[in-house]
Symmetry: C2
Subunit: 445 residues, 2 copies
């Protein structure tokens, strides 16, 4: 290499690890930047509605931490997390029937770091892991770095089709783990049935395969009775991930893991290598908030807020979606998953939708294999019910017009639907599922 | 595997990634727990003296963030970090002559996450990387996960022996990067000379090899004129890492990276996959503190505190160390690096030292290859000058007695020094450098 030349070229002559090839920059990012324009109603990002958390409550907590625990709050903590927060997290998990104790809890930098730690601890390049299709884009992104082979199992209205997994196991599949969001999944908004929960746990126990259960939304239930967590059904076979991002504030970056001793020990070491420890200040704020008098009423108020928004979205979808469109009806969480008529391509319609003042996430980011172009994720967590109604109205207009156009083209051409679909992909912004996932990550805030 | 059996066995039949074999649990941890007893003076952990930061200053900052920016503070931020913090970090770097701009800065979860990101972005298994010997244990730990081959270059009182690196390059070595802490290094407390800085930068430029410059301690200079950062000498060839842990508070977990566009882009994507973003609350606290009136006077006060403690440690070493012991004389930072007489083994003496009420870190954790058993790292950042004096006195007594014993044994036995040394290693707590490093990590708080 000549003196003074670029030290950071792409490709095999450059210094970058192979795993970074999956992180190539994409113009999807520029496209999504448009979604932040004030005239665009974003149904894309799954941001919690933090405005529902009174400032006075946050200030009370911060003041208590600083006046009573300043030295601890400002100092390094142990990699496993501060004991007073771990004790609170044990109580929080117990509300959902997850039994743990403070010695079995690891505090992480949000749920996303928990996913990264899972990937780091379990995945060697080429290992098979099972994910749902569709699956949380942040999990696909976190795991991808460790270069697994993704095995996908479909979802239906009762969650992961465990029967399909059973068939794969019968064929000999033995993945490093099965990753699932059983309750109010992101993006599909569906929940695994009780029967399937039992069946999944028994299947994985018999096969000797660990389950990674990710439960960010379980406490945001709008109606119906809670179902037992997978961890509750089989504590020794399940690595359980949680987060305070949806019940307190994502700006704190507090997630957590409880797991059997052997994986937990490795996860603690991994956490230490990754960032030494999570912010002591944020941990103490979280512990004070969870143990204080405002957590309970604020959580109830939040659930009411999200229920109203879910209702607004379902009503608007009923009213404005063109015929042939279907969607899920979540009992909790943040998301509705929309299936488009086969003539439409969610990605190629994004620029039009932005131009018409509405943003969504195309389904392709939620599959590791490029599927999902006929799916759309809509988040109802952040916009007001009025904004949701107007956003869905705009989306309905975009889809209806595109459908009319596609069907008109179809009527005037010999073999139109497939070619239109192909053109949609060509004209789109796709650079593969990983780039799409990376870009979609930016929308998850 | 039989039904209901352990889902998490060690070894090739288990689910863990190969990289976790380097994280094996070690009884070093139990040993170090002893160092937390109140009767033990710890010269081990490099904890900043956060008590020097007035609580009122922290409360002012928290109150301003919550009353003026609550919604931003509680929400997800972009992976790259909040702009108002990135702008402050540009100003902070400029104080040390590092030119950047807000679009070229990535906020990380402390300096440790910056190291993890460097490893993730650059290292494929088997890649060669250059580190100093000794080197920061947290960097060795972060990089190890990505399974590089470490190439070590010795340090002397003028920092990395660049001449030795030059010889290795002449033999054909082309590492993925050269990692260095040029100023007040951890653990050795030494600083790379100006001549060597120029020589290192020119060497790497000619060879097309990136430099990763880690500068946690640069602003904690007790005397003498600052030297230019490597990034200042070659902005296009250097990835520069910084942290607020030493100039504000480690409990905030704020580090940062500035780098040329190509690596920075990959680092941003990597950061997003690792934990989406750093705590918005902590970022806004940091931005408010850096831009407020208390940063400057508090920093000056901190430097005075650490200078006094360095002086106390050097005076006590002069007074209490046995003959044949030597040590470095840092002009800044947190650490003194002690070389023991050849009869002594730092690791096997640890239990005795704890029993006598003093803790230190044995040198082996700071080398990737098991060297360093005759070295000790002493941190003067956290204990008071009086505690430092007493701790060094206790350490001197332990070393002197061990030396007398070793020399007595040597006088009465035919080939004693090697066998004693070997016994020391056998009776010690060693499970290899990586376990040692992991355990030592727990002392870095």
């Amino acid at each position: 290499m000549p003196p003074g030349s670029d030290r950071f070229p792409d490709g095999p002559s450059g210094p970058f690890a192979a795993r970074t090839e999956r992180m190539a920059v994409s113009d999807v990012r520029a496209l999504f930047a448009a979604a932040r324009r004030p005239d665009v109603i974003s149904l894309a990002g799954g941001m919690p509605f933090v405005q529902a958390l009174p400032e006075a409550d946050v200030l009370d907590v911060a003041r208590a931490v600083i006046t009573e625990r300043a030295h601890l709050a400002l100092q390094y903590g142990g990699g496993v997390g501060l004991e007073e927060l771990r004790e609170q997290l044990v109580g929080l998990m117990a509300r959902e029937g997850v039994q743990s104790d403070a010695d079995r809890v690891l505090v992480t930098g949000g749920g996303q770091q928990a996913l990264d730690i899972v990937g780091k601890v379990f995945i060697d390049p080429g290992d098979r892991i099972v994910v749902e299709a569709p699956s949380y884009v942040g999990a696909l992104s976190a795991f991808s770095v460790y270069e697994p082979r993704f095995e996908t199992i479909p979802l239906d209205d009762d969650g992961m089709v465990v029967e399909a997994l059973e068939a794969r196991f019968a064929e000999g599949l033995r993945p490093k783990f099965v990753y699932t969001v059983p309750t109010f999944t992101n993006p599909a908004g569906v929940t695994m049935s009780l029967e399937r929960r039992h069946r999944l746990v028994a299947l994985c126990r018999d096969a000797g395969v660990p389950i990674v259960e990710d439960n960010p939304y379980g406490m945001l239930r709008f109606e119906g009775d809670p179902l037992p967590c997978l961890h509750t059904l089989d504590p020794e076979g399940v690595v359980y991930l949680g987060t305070l991002s949806k019940v307190f504030a994502p700006g704190m970056r507090i997630g957590f893991i409880t797991a059997p001793a052997a994986p937990l020990e490795r996860m603690i070491s991994t956490k230490e290598g990754s960032d030494l420890c999570t912010s002591s200040f944020a941990q103490l704020m979280a512990a004070a908030y969870l143990s204080g008098p405002r957590f309970e009423p604020n959580l109830l108020a939040l659930v009411d807020v999200y229920r109203e928004r879910r209702d607004a979205m379902l009503a608007a979808l009923e009213r404005f979606m063109p015929k042939g469109t279907t969607w899920t009806r979540p009992n909790g969480g943040f998301y509705v998953w929309v299936s488009l008529p086969p003539e439409l391509d969610a990605r190629s319609l994004l620029p039009t939708a932005f131009g018409r003042g509405v943003a969504y996430v195309a389904g392709t980011g939620f599959y590791p294999d490029g599927r999902g172009s006929d799916r759309i994720r809509l988040a109802f967590s952040y916009p007001t019910p009025e904004e949701i109604g107007e956003g869905v109205r705009r989306l309905g207009a975009v889809l209806s017009e595109a459908l009319t156009l596609a069907r008109g083209e179809a009527a005037g051409a010999p073999d139109p639907a497939p070619s239109h679909r192909g053109a949609g992909h060509d004209a789109g912004v796709g650079h593969g599922a990983a780039a799409e996932a990376a870009a979609a990550m930016r929308l998850l805030r």
